[in-house]
């Protein structure tokens, strides 16, 4: 047993007991859940927090004067402050709830950038963006004549901040870059990218859906303009995410969706809007999910985000080394600074065949284009298999992955 003894005081077996789903079997095998980049499993602390809130404190928020409405509103706003602390934002009003990372980026595209785009204006993005950080900008290209300027990555998957700066012209209105690639695992040097972009007067949006999961994020130290996160990859529930936006930008952003909660006054003739964050949160929000996300962030910080990241990276590095030593296996994404996400290709085996065979061995990985088709094109692959590690994964699961890839190689000869 590799995992009998805690490594550096990190007791992964104790942590695993916090996640009820990890004790189940799949196809009669122990589950090795290595699809954390798609979504993470939920600890009991998150499940219980939502159940208890629904059981004893639930009501709609910002509406009633009755006791429960006040209690629910307090929990809802407390969760906002929890996210503020998680990202080290200057004030809670800079945290806008969204249903996830996708909506967060769409919010910026629609409320911030769209009114600023004239035909020919440019948006700079990298080839390793997730579709959620591509398609909202394509909308502006289709509808308003914006031009997308693509920054390539190296064969190892590194993004040179100098290349980003080089792509910026006087017509650039935004740089949109992932904090960590969901395919290659590459960590981008956001601080340097922001510095170079700001020198040229251009704001930067970071897709933090992976980056916020594997290490600490300090939006003030980064001096980033917009930072998107999603709850379900942070061991919280689905249906909740957030956009951090600098206060100065929020003041100059038009409303997003129209409806209840986002107004100051509505008459037959006109409407005036609430300030941020309410201005961007029309309708009844995902109240229960905010409580779950706050519990997830507490859970992560209780363990320590840097300790989690160190554990995950130890597993990922061993897995990458072992995969690389196998015949006919190619790793895609070997940037020196990367997170615990490994994309690989078994030569002659399509990613979906590989994922199917691994699944029968109890090993859950993702196979396909990972919502990053421009990147697949860049590396000239139809798709990859991807193993992504979370705080509860073990060295035994790394071994299960390697054994299962070996099985697949046997099947395909």
């Amino acid at each position: 047993m590799n995992d009998a003894k805690p490594m550096n005081g990190y007791d992964v077996q104790a942590l695993r007991r916090d996640f009820p789903i990890l004790s189940r079997q799949v196809h009669g095998r122990p589950l090795a859940y290595l699809d954390n980049a798609a979504s993470a499993q939920k600890p009991k602390a998150v499940i219980d927090a939502m159940t208890e809130f629904l059981t004893s404190e639930y009501a709609n928020v910002h509406r009633g004067v009755h006791y429960l409405s006040g209690a629910a509103t307090e929990r809802y706003e407390e969760a906002r402050r929890r996210i503020q602390r998680f990202l080290n934002a200057a004030c809670e009003d800079e945290i806008i709830y969204t249903k996830g990372g996708t909506e967060a980026i769409n919010l910026v595209a629609s409320s911030y950038l769209s009114p600023r785009i004239e035909p020919g204006d440019e948006i700079v993005l990298s080839v390793m963006e997730h579709h959620s950080n591509i398609v909202p900008w394509h909308f502006l290209r289709e509808r308003q004549g914006a031009v997308l300027k693509w920054v390539d990555v190296s064969d190892l998957g590194e993004l040179d901040p100098g290349d980003v700066a080089h792509a910026i012209t006087p017509r650039t209105k935004l740089v949109a870059i992932s904090h960590m690639s969901n395919v290659l695992g590459t960590k981008t040097d956001l601080r340097e990218i922001v510095r170079l972009a700001h020198e040229r007067g251009v704001p930067v949006l970071a897709d933090g859906c992976q980056g916020a999961v594997h290490g600490s994020v300090d939006v003030r130290a980064l001096d980033i303009d917009f930072y998107a996160i999603t709850g379900h990859k942070l061991y919280g529930p689905t249906g909740i995410g957030a956009m951090y936006a600098k206060r100065a930008h929020l003041k100059a952003m038009r409303p997003y969706q129209g409806g209840g909660e986002m107004i100051r006054e509505v008459t037959r003739e006109k409407v005036t809007y609430a300030d941020a964050p309410m201005r961007f949160e029309a309708g009844t929000p995902p109240i229960v999910q905010t409580v779950g996300l706050a519990a997830a962030l507490d859970y992560l910080d209780d363990i320590g985000r840097e300790r989690i990241a160190a554990h995950e990276m130890e597993l990922a590095q061993v897995a990458a080394r072992k995969l690389k030593n196998m015949n006919g296996v190619r790793i895609i994404g070997e940037a020196p600074d990367k997170g615990p996400i490994i994309s690989f290709e078994a030569i002659g085996i399509h990613a979906h065949d590989l994922a199917t065979i691994l699944d029968r061995e109890g090993v859950a990985v993702r196979g396909g284009h990972h919502c990053a088709q421009p990147l697949m094109e860049r590396f000239n692959v139809a798709g990859t298999a991807r193993a992504s590690f979370g705080l509860y994964n073990t060295m035994d699961e790394v071994d299960a992955l390697i054994a299962a890839v070996g099985e697949a190689r046997k099947v395909f000869g």
Binding site: H352, D353, R360, M376, F412
Partner: protein
């Protein structure tokens, strides 16, 4: 390795995927359609040459995909060559039953035997659309729709 997996990736399937029959464009084709699975990015283009007596005198396919989708396309072209359009539709109906784990009653024994090598897919519901992609493209080609999608 478990029995379901062994059945899915049996030798004849692997052989079709490694050495697909009738692979490549068909210049004489008068019906062509592309099948696209947007979830995995797999694509297959099916070419049919249909004679005036509604017989498929030649057929081919090209594209990229997993072993299941390529093998299924290859097997399909083997079966369709020389058959009538009515036969092609009957074969497709039977095939769709087979990959969903249902009985392909109504198919001649010969056809059923050939198609049955794909029946292992029925144990893998997530993979059924891989197996049916080429067939949907074939149908779209016959109906001159140009494109088929599986979702």
């Amino acid at each position: 390795m478990d029995q379901n997996l062994r059945e899915l990736y049996q030798e004849i399937i692997l052989d079709h995927s490694r050495h697909p029959r009738h692979f490549g464009a068909l210049d004489a084709a008068n019906h062509v359609a592309e099948g696209h699975n947007p979830l995995c990015g797999d694509r297959v283009k099916v070419y049919l040459q249909v004679n005036s007596d509604d017989r498929i005198s030649d057929v081919s396919f090209e594209g990229r995909g997993c072993a299941i989708s390529v093998a299924s396309a290859s097997l399909m072209t083997d079966l369709l060559k020389g058959r009538s359009i009515a036969d092609a539709e009957k074969l497709m109906g039977g095939f769709l039953h087979l990959v969903k784990g249902e009985d392909a009653a109504g198919l001649p024994a010969d056809d059923r035997e050939q198609l049955e090598v794909m029946a292992g897919v029925s144990a893998f519901p997530m993979r059924v659309k891989c197996a049916t992609l080429a067939w949907h493209a074939m149908k779209a080609a016959l109906e001159n729709q140009g494109a088929a999608k599986t979702e």
